[in-house]
Symmetry: C2
Subunit: 356 residues, 2 copies
């Protein structure tokens, strides 16, 4: 199989971790007889420095001509005081729009070998296995007006939470599809006791549930969801929610199992290539020091193999290799939990490759 992969390394540790994923993808290609071509594009702070834009047109072109996109991470203190349109994160928001990425999928899984590094007691997180499906194109992120206003002579400000019904339908539909192949439960999170948009969201979920009679639909208020994620994360299978609630809850969920540096994500396009990236940020403090955990990005590459290329065996092989090295006791600093023997980024990559 021949595939074009766009690689956007981004800032901070983005370079190191994407390099790891590319090495693993190359090893997979060789082992299984595929042909993966890598095209590199700029995004984030580095792109601002070199081109004046956090997402140059050329990068968008490279992505659109690819079969899938691999992203590292963007941002860093250097660009923190830039005006909004010259901030690295703008590149992220823009690529979501430009590539029609409407759904961010984040599996939250438990690694028994890592239970030590979780803030939660083992009995609360053991065997946790759920997926947060976050809407990416609507809500407060892109609604207009978003501006300073004057009301009755006083300074004020307005942001707008806007959703088309069709945006709700397609993401909730995806959630039900995913649940069908899993534990058959969808938890739809909203704030229907306050927001009109949430009431439309809830209705839409009810409508779509009719097409999936074997999947259970549960509604949960966002404040309660924020509690339940901590009190009883095992209750969840698929959690689906709108953009801002998803931003907050998926980050909350990502620290439950103590394995933030290991968690992959996939952003699904309505048409065109999907984008795969680790959940963690650009970690400027450890950038370039061969200390970053490459596993989140390597597992993102495994998701790419499965979801974009349909290569289930290859994806499983990568995931299996990761489990194996963890079982050996290899640990980058973020998951070392006091263990003195710390594995470097490059060693971790080499070991995963050797265990493919």
């Amino acid at each position: 199989m021949k595939r074009n992969i766009a690689v956007l390394q981004g800032d901070g540790i983005g370079k190191e971790v994407t390099r790891g994923a590319v090495e693993i993808l190359e090893a997979v290609a060789q082992r299984y007889g595929h042909d993966f071509e890598f095209q590199y594009g700029e995004i984030g702070g580095g792109a601002i420095d070199n081109t004046g834009s956090p997402l140059p047109d050329e990068t968008v072109e490279i992505c659109k001509n690819s079969d899938a996109v691999l992203l590292g991470a963007v941002g860093g203190p250097k660009w923190d005081n830039q005006p909004a349109h010259l901030r690295p994160e703008r590149g992220l928001l823009k690529i979501r729009k430009d590539l029609n990425l409407y759904a961010n999928i984040r599996p939250i899984s438990y690694y028994s070998s890592l239970s030590e590094s979780s803030p939660l007691k083992k009995e609360f997180i053991e065997d946790v296995d759920f997926v947060i499906v976050r809407e990416l194109t609507g809500g407060l992120y892109f609604g207009k007006p978003s501006e300073r206003v004057e009301r009755e002579g006083k300074e004020a400000v307005v942001d707008t939470l806007f959703y088309q019904k069709i945006e709700m339908q397609r993401i909730i539909e995806l959630a039900f599809k995913l649940a069908s192949d899993r534990k058959k439960k969808v938890t739809s999170v909203d704030k229907a006791n306050v927001l009109e948009s949430s009431r439309m969201w809830r209705e839409t979920a009810e409508e779509i549930a009719k097409d999936y009679p074997d999947v259970e639909l549960e509604h949960m208020l966002v404040d309660n969801a924020a509690m339940q994620l901590i009190k009883n994360p095992k209750q969840f299978d698929i959690v689906v929610t709108e953009n801002m609630f998803g931003d907050i809850l998926s980050d909350e969920a990502s620290v439950l199992t103590g394995s933030l540096g290991m968690l992959p994500s996939a952003s699904i396009s309505t048409q065109g290539p999907n984008l795969y990236e680790p959940i963690h940020g650009s970690a400027p403090d450890i950038a370039g020091k061969n200390l970053a955990n490459p596993i989140g990005t390597i597992l993102s590459a495994a998701s790419m193999l499965r979801l974009s290329f349909g290569l289930e065996n290859e994806a499983n092989a990568v995931e299996q290799a990761v489990e194996t090295v963890l079982d050996y006791g290899l640990r980058t600093g973020d998951i070392a939990n006091g263990q003195s023997n710390i594995t470097s980024t490059s060693e971790m990559i080499a070991e995963i490759k050797a265990n493919l």
Copy 2:
């Protein structure tokens, strides 16, 4: 001292827990020579059944004529399918507006005797002691338009996040005042990389910080805050944020220490009486069974003594009595954590009173 206290019992366990707080307040009055008069008003589902409104005008009158308001909890499955304006929660939103309650204050504290019932490992929550200050009058809760719309012939919906600068100023000012008397750190939570309202919030926080040179101001993005609350809750002193973020983060924070049933809250008015209520809900499943934990409401009454009446010694005495009975090992079901010897609501109240 003579004071009028409005008591809104509400639904579910609201009756039992407010009865407990009233008993304690009466005991305090007797012991310290005060005269507390209690006036009862209806709110929530019961009020809907009896008057057709979740917050009858009469209740608002009673509150306005009081020196402080004590609230139990509202809601229950009976009213879950009512239209929005006939839902018990509407009573809560309306009383916030009618009494000008602009700030909800929620202390999150650690009880060493309860560390067993927390989902978090002891080393993460030991000595946790922070306060979430949530804005209550603005944001997505009351902004207009909040309605279904048609855009380009398609079904859509809009909600509006609206803030006056003055609403931001007064709540952030309150946060700095509280921090001055504590650990002198304010964490202001926003989403300034996406929302214009958050950028105004951040600017406002910077402006007010100038008047408090001995208080440290830190900005934190809401998604990061949702992580940090779990990863390292000890870092916080005062957390201040807008209405919806505050709703989510304060509920998240309330389950960290395993003592949801014990946590009080105070809602502060720009003028007129403050309102005090426990954080927990109406728990219809255990209502009327003498099983509810009255401590959250009793500690809310202690906050009333301190914040509304300036009775610091009396407030301390109530808090001390609660600590004492916990040290004895008395536990209602929610904090029993497997212990077989469960204390009833009425016993718990009697014991706290006996230890005043």
